[in-house]
Subunit: 205 residues, 2 copies
């Protein structure tokens, strides 16, 4: 039920709401309010109500939101009520760390294949996964139904990897490099940028 007219900034906040709701659910809390969610997330209650109103009527005046049903609805909206097979490009230290990141698999993202261009790595294993030649990406993406790519290569190689992902029909890219990727229409990039995070922290120091 993706609605193309929802601002991207709103879409990017939904995972934060989902995460807070899942914590509340794990604490056994059946009901919450936009104010309580806002306190946890350092956002205004009005912002949260406005964001959620894009997607329908949630919650009841005076009672608030039912935690578990709202979490499930957000999972449906975000299309994470299923498991996604992910291609990891880059079998170096960062790739290894991503493969072992606690929380990817349990939150619906399964790294199904690892790729590298280094001939010394191709054919070896990263964890339990064999490392494929990145040249095989277009073929294997189709065969394995890969729909998401994680770019964990040196910044200088990131654009060529993004090009290969787009050629392989992959429309969602999580970019761990400091490169700004150019992609065709219909492909989306989310940048994991630790420097942006650090800079928004030093503002307060």
């Amino acid at each position: 039920m993706s609605a193309p007219d929802i601002p991207e900034i709103v879409v990017r906040r939904l995972p934060l709401y989902l995460r807070a709701l899942r914590v509340m659910a794990s604490e056994g809390r059946p009901v919450t309010s936009s104010r309580e969610l806002g306190d946890r997330l350092h956002m205004s209650a009005a912002q949260i109500r406005k964001d959620l109103s894009h997607f329908g009527e949630f919650g009841t005046a005076g009672r608030g939101y039912d935690v578990e049903p709202l979490a499930e609805e957000l999972e449906r909206i975000l299309n994470v009520d299923r498991a996604w097979p992910v291609a990891l490009i880059g079998a170096g230290a960062l790739g290894r760390a991503i493969l072992h990141y606690e929380g990817l698999q349990e939150r619906g993202f399964r790294i199904a294949a690892v790729f590298d261009r280094d001939l010394d790595k191709i054919g070896r294993h990263l964890g339990r996964l064999r490392i494929f030649d990145v040249a095989a990406l277009p073929e294997l993406a189709g065969e394995m139904g890969l729909e998401i790519g994680i770019v964990a290569v040196p910044a200088s190689a990131a654009q060529s990897v993004a090009d290969a992902l787009a050629r392989s029909g992959i429309r969602a890219i999580l970019n761990y490099t400091s490169a700004i990727l150019h992609v065709p229409d219909g492909v989306r990039v989310y940048d994991i940028d630790p420097v942006a995070g650090l800079q928004s922290l030093t503002y307060y120091l």
Copy 2:
């Protein structure tokens, strides 16, 4: 010149503007506009003008923004016109990847010390840095002037590391784990959450 009444969501967007401006500067572009910045960042021009207006008068009607002066002003606002010594906690695969991340050092963040609690790692080296016992953090944070901590340990150990960082007088934490950290007032956390990124991508799939 930190202004405490600026919404955090605005502060978090400033690094994006700075990054885009730095790319433009490297392309040799002297002038830009809120519309052009917005196109690059997939945001509205009005949003950018509004965000920047919190910090003063930038740009001229009809001419736009001077790229280099605006970038420098943002660096001043974000306090990144200096180098910050950073403590990295966790000398595993993720710590190694962070230490070698291109862009931290060149954008003003110098990992000055690495800590771990694993007796097999303490005293050895990660890159050119000796690995210290995390128990020495309070003492060394003062001695070395560490002001920022990066948490790259297993999620189960993250809260105790956050507690140690707060006790050490560190007020800015970049959290790479999936744990939701509780910190005292005056300490800020920025979460690097790849799952939130992936979820905001699957929305569109």
